[in-house]
Symmetry: C2
Subunit: 405 residues, 2 copies
Amino acid sequence: MASDLLSIEEARGRILAALTPTVAETVALAEGAGRVLARGVTARLTQPPADVSAMDGYALRAADATEGARLAVIGSAPAGRPFEGEVGPGQAVRIFTGGFIPAGADAVLIQEDAEADNGSVLVKEAARAGRHIRRRGLDFVEGSEVLPAGRKLTARDIGLAAASNNPWLTVHRRPRIAILATGDEITLPGDPVPPGGIVSSNAHALAALIRAAGGEPVILPIAPDDTRAIAEVAGAAHAFDMLVTTGGASVGEHDLVQQALGGEGFELGFWKIAMRPGKPVISGRLGRTPVLGLPGNPVSALTCGVLFLMPAIARLSGQPGGPPPTRRVLTAVPLAANDQRADHLRATLSIDKAGHVVATPAEVQDSSMLATLARADALVLRAPHAPALPAMAEVEVIVLAELGV
Amino acid sequence: MASDLLSIEEARGRILAALTPTVAETVALAEGAGRVLARGVTARLTQPPADVSAMDGYALRAADATEGARLAVIGSAPAGRPFEGEVGPGQAVRIFTGGFIPAGADAVLIQEDAEADNGSVLVKEAARAGRHIRRRGLDFVEGSEVLPAGRKLTARDIGLAAASNNPWLTVHRRPRIAILATGDEITLPGDPVPPGGIVSSNAHALAALIRAAGGEPVILPIAPDDTRAIAEVAGAAHAFDMLVTTGGASVGEHDLVQQALGGEGFELGFWKIAMRPGKPVISGRLGRTPVLGLPGNPVSALTCGVLFLMPAIARLSGQPGGPPPTRRVLTAVPLAANDQRADHLRATLSIDKAGHVVATPAEVQDSSMLATLARADALVLRAPHAPALPAMAEVEVIVLAELGV
C-alpha cells in the first residue's frame, strides 16, 4: 500500500520540473511590487552623487574646527542647492542633511556643537575630518546591479529602483491560472442549493490563494460530472499558464476528469501522495498547459494549494519554488506517533508566559471542516513515521497568514 | 534632551487614537480577500446539510455489518444525488464521500473492507455504528456567525464564506492614502536629475507599503520647498482618508511643511520620537484629514512607515492596529548597550546548523543606505537603554517580507 504512495517532496519536485517561467513584460515602477524581476535592475546614477553631509551644521576645514574658534559663514548648502564657492581657512558654510560638502571643506560641525552669531559661527566642540560626511557612492554606484533577476520585489526594492532612477522594470508576466471546479452537486454562492448540493468554495478560496501567490486567477464556469462538459471547458486551457481542477480526483466511479481530459491530449501524472489531508492529486498536461488536479474536499484542496500550487506559481513567476517556509514552535499537547502519511494538523498559535509561540491542534481534524481551517493559524507538520512527541516539544509549522492564505 | 522625546509606543498610540475606520461597502465575495469585515458573515445553510459519508463504501445497518455477511446492494448515493429509499435489514447502498447516509443506515463499510460481487457486497471487516459518518452541521449551522466583524479575510475565509452561501461581503472601504513628497531637490524616476538633485523614492516605496497594508495609495505631484506650492497640493487632502508627507520634517530652516499647512487648518501633533532611524515625525490634522509626516530620508521613512503608517492603515481599515508582529531570533554578533533611542538594526536572517534563525546586522547602519535596507530581511529591535548582549542571545525582530515590505 505504502509503496504506491508518492512523498510530498517527490510530488512537488515533479510538478515543478514540468514548469517554465512566463515571458517577461515591461511594467511601470509603480506596478512592480510583488513581481519577480526577469532582468536585474542597474543603477543609473551614483548615490550620493558627491560627498554629502549626514547632519545639519556647518561645513568647514577640520584644521579650523578647534574648540572656541570663530569662523565666517560665507554661504549655505541645503540639499539640492550646492554651494558653488570654496571654503577657505577660517570660513564655514551652513549645510543641511544631504547638502554637498563644498570644495575646501573636509568636516561637518553639527549644529548642536555650534553657536551661530551674525554671520559667524562659534565652534563649541572640535570637529574631526570626515565625520558626518557620507561619501559619494556610499549607497550605490552608477552601472552596478542594485537588484538581481529572480528577485520578488518588496516595497523597499521599489524605493531602491526609484532612487537609482529606474522608471521601468522588466518582470515576469503574472501567471494566469484557470480554476475548474467539477461536480454535479456544486452550485455558485448565492444560487439555490438543490437537495444534496453543496456550494462551490474551492474555486473562490483558490482564487484568493493564487492572487496571494502572485498569480492571476480565472474561475471557469462549473463543469457538471459529464465528460463532454468537462472536456469542453478544459478546451480553453491553452489560454492559461496552468489549469487547476478541483473535485473529480477521488478513486470512485465518479472520477471523470481523467477520462474527460483524455481526448484533449491529457497526460496523467500521478494519483496518490503520502499525505493527509489531500491524498489524491492529479498532475499532468493538457496540450502544452500544465494541469494540477486538487482534491474536491476544501481542506484538502487548500492544503494541497499551499504545498503544491503556491510553489508552482512561484516557479511560473520566475522564482525557484519550493517547500513553503516553516517556523519552529512548541506543541501545546502531546502528539501521537504518525503513520506513513505526512500529516498537517490545523492549529491555533498563541504566546505562552515565557514568550514562546505555542501551537494547539484542533481536537477534530476532519478534512471536511472548513471552519476549523479558517480559524487555524498554522499547519503543524508531522512527517511520515514521526515519533510521538511530549507537550512542549518543538514542531515545525506553516503559518498560513504569512503566506497570505 | 531625552525628556522632549516621545516613545514609539506613545507616538503610535496618539496616531491611532485620532483615527476612525472607513465606512462599509458591499463587495463581491471574489473581491473580499485581504479586506476587513465591517459585519460578521452568517452561515446561510448548514454544512453538511445531513449526515454524510466521510468515505467511499457502503451505507448499511451496523447490526448487519458483521464479518462474512453478504448484503444486497439496492442503490447508490453519490455526493449530490441522495438515495431516496430506505436501507432495510440485509441491504446496503453504494455510497461515496459526501453522499447522504440513506434512511435506515447507521454505518459505513469502507470499500477497502468490502468485496462487491454482482449486486451484493461481502463484509470483510465489521463496521461500527456512526463510523465514517460526518454529522449534520459538523462544519457550521445555518444562522451561526462563521466570520466575525473586524476579521481581515484570508483565502480560507473566502472559502468559508462561499461554502456558507454568501456571495456578498460587507467590508471596510480600503483607506485612500495620499502621499506628498516635498523638496526642491526631488525629481521623478527617469526625469533628468539636476546637479544636487535626488530621485524621489519614498513616495513609490510608501505606495507599495500602503498597498501591502491594504490601503489605496495616491501619489500627489511633488511639491517644491515653497509654502504656497505645498499648501496648494495639500488642499486636496479632504479627498483622502490620510495624508502622508515625506521630507520637510527636519529641524533646519527648510522645514516648510508645518508653515505651509498652517493656513489649511493644520494642527501640529509632535516632532521627535525616541527612535533611530527616523526621529522627526509630524502627526496632525488638515481639516478633517489625519496627517502623518515622515522623514525625508528613505530608510527612516520606511522604518516609520512600518512602525506608524501600517498600524494606522490597519486602524483605518477596521482593525485595532498596533505594533508590527515580531519574532524572536538569535543575534549573530554581540550588540552594544543602547542609548535612549529605540534602534532598528537592518539585518539579514539565516539558519544555523542547529536550525535556529540568526540575525546578522549590517556593519554600517547609516540611515541613507537604501540598498542595505533592501538587502535586509529584518529589523532587529533594540529598546531604549537595552543592555549589551552577547552573540547568540535572543533578540526581537520585525521580518519585513512577512509584512509585504
